[in-house]
Symmetry: C2
Subunit: 336 residues, 2 copies
DNA sequence: ATGAAAGCGCTAACAT
DNA sequence: ATGTTAGCGCTTTCAT
């Protein structure tokens, strides 16, 4: 890499001090009452010498990096791409850069990433926490490092967070299956302690109870995160064998796998089996029957997350626990 | 954010100089022959004081950030998630962090991102260049900033790059349709000057020619990047009207849209229409018929890209133009 | 209106 | 074996 042009190079070139150059190039010429001509000369020199400010040096001095760290759970989730895009856009508006890392749902990788990002002096973090990452969150709180949680949170830890209302959304999904005349409603969810997924359980159970279908709860299946394919296959087979006429999938990934096997089993949707999915997937478009599903407001989550983080960074008092309403997309997978 | 512990704090705490602390904490205690006991004390102090090295300061001094910038074309492409994952993993092994940005196929956004990343002193860049980004690439060359192109390149610009062999892969895809007995083979590709997509054209045409189907070239359709949905729909309709018995889709995005409309038109694959796609999509799994497609070696591309970049950064002479072979996944979308 | 200089936290050359 | 110190490129206070 060629030698870089520094502030003092252009100061030398013009024959002024570095202070003036700094003022002018930071748009504070007026404020600092720098002579018009000098200012112009400085700008010219910066241009011809192709000056690029060294953000590292600037950061060291100002103690600000204008960088936020974003740790997602898995880069393949629909949630991730949508929310990442929104976060990058909103961060850009605030003149911030996003450093992205993926924990792949692994808490040690999560801890490692937090570490790396904090060492790199990010001004704040936007986190999708994973199982067993409570101690990391506590650590961030203790050290007063600005952060906001999205998608997930821990009921025992008070922190700023933005997410969809999982309970309510799951309730609606289940209720939709009930209202479209289905009597034996299966539910497939991950086996996990993650609160947001437990909330989806609660929504399912509550809806059953409120509609006098409490006995349906035996149709709830749990799958292991490391064995999605085989467990979903087994679960679908079991539910069908138990005579279910509808299935509610707790996530897009589960839904995609479920539908794949339903295809394989030659079952027709919605005639043989009604389907509702929490979250949408691009893949749904290729299924012969439009899938009814809840849609998270990814744009909004990302936007609010960034703005909340900005508030924290700028030392405004913030205490936000936001549960957003999900959209509900009506397909034909529960009948017409 | 609480006051940070700095090197000198722990030096003070132990009663030694900052130099010793620096040596010990960078694992150079032996090399610098620091006393065993002192070294131990320093490590302890660092631990209890919860010292986190300030990478910014380190970078300013060493002129190295251990950061690579990755600019992708669109975060929703299958190519992106796969290759990002591979790059992050490989970069991590080399003790590097990845800063990700997405240009959304927009050259001014691309330029802006290059700028931001260079100002942030990334040690190098991995780029998926977009249309009209030639000047940026030239600029990077001129300033001897380490970079490697992936997925795409410009024939007029000599640069290190890693990609799949687009010509050969497209040739194989087309040939497969021919060999499975199809006579009127449509092809849908983007209208673009991007060389890698033009190479796919060339592969298609060459295969037709080599198999005496030169007249088929009227079945090639171009779609606009900003109007994928409507243009793909129109193209499929036209090809069907022209009596095509097979379609080759030039990208996963085009394929997903194409299949969606084929579904809508009540056409059966492969009976009414045979299909081959360049690139795979998760969505294919939900289509009733397994789609035959080429699969790019994303892992390998990412890995080689990082290692090439590391070589450049470490001043090894590097001149690599690598064209990898794609995998070919046999579905049933061209018949049994 | 402009300049001199301190100092951000760290590394490394040099001194002891 | 350990300490002292210059300096990375920038911002900003204080002088002038």
């Amino acid at each position: 890499m060629k030698k870089k042009i520094a502030l003092k190079d252009i100061a030398q070139h013009v024959g002024v001090s570095t202070a003036l150059v700094s003022y002018v190039l930071n748009g504070r010429a007026e404020e600092k009452r720098v002579g018009k001509e000098i200012a112009e000369k400085i700008r010219e020199a910066a241009d011809t010498l192709n000056y690029r400010p060294n953000q590292i040096a600037k950061s060291l001095k100002t103690n600000r990096t204008n960088t936020v760290g974003l740790i997602v759970a898995d880069i393949n989730y629909r949630f991730t791409s949508g929310v990442t895009r929104a976060i990058e856009a909103e961060a850009g508006k605030n003149n911030y850069t996003v450093i992205l890392g993926s924990s792949d749902e692994d808490h040690s990788k999560f801890a490692e990433l937090v570490n790396v990002l904090v060492n790199r002096q990010v001004d704040g973090l936007i986190l999708v926490p994973v199982e067993k990452s409570e101690s990391q969150i506590e650590w961030l709180k203790k050290h007063e490092i600005p952060f906001v949680l999205i998608d997930r949170n821990f009921p025992g830890i008070q922190a700023n967070h933005i997410a969809v209302d999982n309970f309510r959304t799951a309730y609606q999904c289940t209720q939709h299956l009930i209202k479209t005349g289905h009597k034996k409603i299966g539910f497939i969810n991950y086996k996990t302690t993650l609160y947001h997924l437990r909330e989806r359980d609660r929504g399912y159970f509550q809806a059953l109870e409120d509609h006098g279908l409490k006995n349906n709860s035996k149709f709830k299946k749990e799958i292991r995160e490391k064995h999605v394919q085989e467990d979903v296959l087994r679960s679908v087979q079991e539910l069908v064998a138990q005579g279910c006429d509808g299935i509610f999938f707790a996530t897009d990934i589960i839904a995609i796998n479920g539908l794949k096997y339903i295809n394989g089993m030659q079952l027709r949707v919605p005639e043989d089996l009604a389907i509702v999915s929490f979250d949408e997937a691009e893949a749904f478009e290729l299924f012969y029957c439009p899938i009814t599903h809840a849609r998270q407001p990814l744009e909004e989550i990302g936007k609010i997350a960034v703005n909340t983080l900005m508030d924290i960074i700028n030392h405004n008092q913030v205490n936000r626990q936001i549960y957003l309403e999900a959209g509900f997309v009506l397909g034909r997978s529960c009948g017409e």
